[in-house]
Symmetry: C2
Subunit: 162 residues, 2 copies
DNA sequence: CTTGACTCTGTAGTCACTCAAGGGTTTCTA
DNA sequence: TAGAAACCCTTGAGTGACTACAGAGTCAAG
């Protein structure tokens, strides 16, 4: 099958597949006469595995480890357990952070129940003063907006809120 | 004061300040004879405001809106309320996703209580099969576009579903 | 033979920073 | 007063996991 069909079967889009290939997550496929990538059932399996892991918010590096174990069935899978435990820890931690965040935001929201002019907006007022700081992210699980910058915090950035 | 002191006072690091300047969040400061940036109290205020908003996981674009309102005190602050409501919505949604995620991960973890060889690892087994969707498709917008969807939230991007 | 769907490579953009190279300036110390 | 250390400057590249686009080639159907 060609890349479009693989994409449909695995629920990915085409660029992502090529990206995974470049990144070494998918093996380099054979090519047709016209230089099209040709895939088989094993590719569908592997790509689906990757997408399933991604849907659990695992990083590509974590997935790389799992793929390694899938391919070395004789090895002890304690590392798989450890990886998952760590990941569960990340998720739990991020949830706590988000709960605290939600609390602060609702707090903030209550300060300006109805529209007035910005000069008397309780929200802007509060943001202009110090808010009790919450320890910043230390997990790779995405923040409220799910963008990748949060992950930088996961990699050893130790916050600096004094 | 010079950039280093501003950084200390606001609990940021120096590169971040220069980044905010490039990005238009901080006004261009005056310079010393030796071409050093020179800041005053207003810069401390503004930078602290930005960092406080960032600690609430707001995007720089959201913060830009808030800064605008801080500088136009006569305007009605209904937009501030709307912005915050939307942001609270993002956080709430992300929390729900993480709760579902946590459930799935714990599920998964239970399948391999102790270390064996990878060939019989229940975790790898499960990841190799479809995971019961349990209605996640509706809220998680999963499969192909799950994570792009998060990014869309951040910018109001109207998806393409090609 | 053309149209349109699909595919190819390569490059750049996203977000919010962070880091490093290679230099200049200022301040402290001997 | 010399020199070292600490600070600052600009520029450019890197992060994660993609997404988007340009400009070209391939292929099947009408």
């Amino acid at each position: 099958m060609k890349i479009g069909e693989l994409a449909r079967l695995a629920g990915t889009n085409v660029e992502t597949i090529r990206y995974y290939e470049r990144d070494g997550l998918l093996p380099i496929p054979s090519r047709s006469e016209g230089n099209y990538r040709i895939y088989g059932e094993t590719h569908v399996q592997r790509l689906s595995f990757i997408r399933r892991c991604r849907s659990l918010d695992m990083t590509l590096d974590e997935i790389r480890v799992l793929l390694h174990f899938k391919e070395s069935p004789q090895e002890n899978c304690a590392d798989v357990n450890r990886l998952l435990d760590r990941h569960i820890g990340h998720v739990a931690q991020r949830m706590q952070e988000l709960q605290e965040l939600e609390r602060q935001l609702n707090d903030l929201r209550e300060r300006c129940g109805e529209a007035r002019d910005a000069a008397h907006c309780g929200i802007l007022d509060s943001l202009s003063q110090a808010i009790a700081p919450s320890g910043k992210t230390a997990s790779h699980v995405l923040g409220a907006h799910g963008h990748a910058a949060n992950r930088r915090l996961a990699k050893g950035y130790q916050g600096n809120q004094g």
